[in-house]
Amino acid sequence: MEHLLNDADVVKFIVTGYHITEPDLPAGLNETIAAKLDTLESNPGDAITETVPELWQVLENARVKGALTSLLGTGYEVQSHRHWHCKQTHSGHMNWHQDSTNNRDLRLNRFLGLYYPTDITPDMGPTVIVPGTQYRNAPTDRMATYTNIKGQVPLTVKAGTVAFTHYDLWHGTAANSSDKKRHMIKFLFRRTQENDSPNWDHDPECMNRPRDWNLKDQAEDPANILAFSNPLQVSQSDHYKERKIRRRVWDYLNGNTEAIPA
């Protein structure tokens, strides 16, 4: 299969909780979708793909399918829930939150795909994510006093970008101070069968090489990224816990389903 992720890509997703894809979509597709969304007067909810059927072309793109297959296996499912998030012009920010309730699951069995049909500039109310927070189970009320967090990343992206984000990643939205509506379509994807081996472009020796203690997480090597990355700059004991969780997720994706019991 084309456009599978490599080991470093998969490890970065485990560590940061997101992966950005810029699919090579047909000319005019983003513009067509954005124009339709601009004129919608009510939110069709899950039926957004019936109102704007061109959205299926995004999901059928080889780069999108390659990333999804790599992380969720060949039998991944596009779930029936999807949503058009229209950030209206001159609307305020949205506080940090994690989706759903605080029953989290370390097994990487579902995540979101956020598709943006237009360029997103900082003044258009981009989604803002906090890489590395996906293993921190935090009730929204406990996050209420947080404002900007060191390490947060605004998804100021090119038209056509699909950002895959871990289901439990902390995210919010900046204010839209522009005169343009900001469109984002959220899709939900789910694994249907557990891995018995890696589904990505995998080198079985990738974790066996010696770590680079000089470059640390700057080395583009999966073992280094898994061990040294610290996107939130957390302190030592939290970093140890995080590393253990990352390793269990890696083992789980490699087919060791015992690494994270159901």
């Binding site: 305020g92 900082p122 921190r136 406990r142 967090i149 060191k150 947060q152 816990k241 995080e242």
Partner: protein, 56 residues
């Protein structure tokens, strides 16, 4: 304060720097024990500071 997407300008690198500049701690971070030592939750080190100044 709201979540912003532009370049962030942090007034201080550390809480200590802020205290040296006249801020006072009004709430220390909650110590989160008892806890399951395998789990991670909120980001720690959440100091709440205040500074009182005369306004003309």
């Amino acid at each position: 304060m709201e979540i912003v997407a532009g370049e962030l300008e942090w007034p201080y690198e550390t809480v200590h720097d802020a205290i040296v500049d006249g801020w006072q701690i009004v709430q220390f971070p909650h110590l989160q024990a008892p806890f399951d030592d395998k789990d991670l939750d909120v980001v720690g080190y959440e100091f709440i500071l205040q500074k009182m100044e005369v306004v003309d």
